[in-house]
């Protein structure tokens, strides 16, 4: 049986370089929200955000 996504099987892999550059693989909508909240000025993450825009809860997760 293929794992259900809400049983923590969803996965995004991050590689964070020393200069702060973040490489992302298997970017899920939730992780895109977190990364965009961490760096709202990065247009690449912003372009991949699910609707609607980041909420206060997302900022709380990222803080």
């Amino acid at each position: 049986m293929t794992p259900e996504p809400d049983r923590a099987e969803q996965m995004t892999e991050l590689l964070i370089k020393q200069d702060g550059t973040i490489y992302v693989h298997n970017l899920t909508p939730e992780m895109a929200l977190v990364l965009s909240t961490l760096n709202p000025d990065d247009p690449r993450f912003r372009a991949r955000l699910p609707e609607p825009a980041p909420t206060a809860d997302a900022r709380a997760i990222a803080s």
Binding site: M1, T2, E4, V24, P50
Partner: protein
Amino acid sequence: MSATAFAEPRASTHGRRKLAQQRLRAARESLADCQLCAHHCGVNRLTSTRGRCGAGSEGRVFSAQVEVSDELEFIPCFAIALSGCDLRCAFCITGAQSWNPKAGEPLDAPALAVRAQRALEKGARSIMILGGEPTIHLPSVLELVSALPADATLIWKTNGHASALARRFLADLFDVWLVDYKFGNDDCAHRLARIHGYTSALQENLAWAAENSTLVIRHLLMPGHVDCCWRPAAAWIGNHLPGVRVNLRAGFWPAWQARRHAELCDPAPSADVQRAWDTARDAGLHLIE
């Protein structure tokens, strides 16, 4: 099972799901003399014999989730990843699963179809089948396609190493073929992915996909491979497939066994990335994100 034994009804009179269902038996029988990829191993995968990919008769899924890392026009995308592959790319981002056709869980087409439908209802714009390399699991793919929502945009992500037989099984099933143009020459392909005759097989698949589906080409820029790989690839695309959309991916990271190769121990330097963009511009490519 020979290719001539596969009789195909005209695609215009049948829906995608029905087509996939009709081809399923022939696809399963073809595993007795596997010719699904350009390796043409000819092994009987219905027994314990294995070819270059090491796959048996049943496909397995190691990931099925909504993702937003693909091309902007496709996201959010419900991506179903099958384990096992016919290539051995040292830099594979999913190497542990891609090189192991036993990774993950057995493919459960009805369950995946339910999850795909749920994803579409929650805003996903497409469904993508990828690997590893899904071509090696064609019977399982056909079973899956016969169950997936009929009106969803369906994307086939592939390494472009399919045989003519495999393409016949896949014809008229996918709205988009998303094909990796990995290497610009056979020497790099052999050194980094242990494959012979890469370029001819890949270009044959690209030409076919451009004629039979909507083709989008991806190239992962590898450090130190702008001149030997990207430049020839860009030139070929510009000359033979003008106007085809190309996604030049500059986010290489040294995953899996990449560090066995000296030039693949770090991400691509910014100078390489700039030269790659310049090369794409000079070739007149239609770049997308």
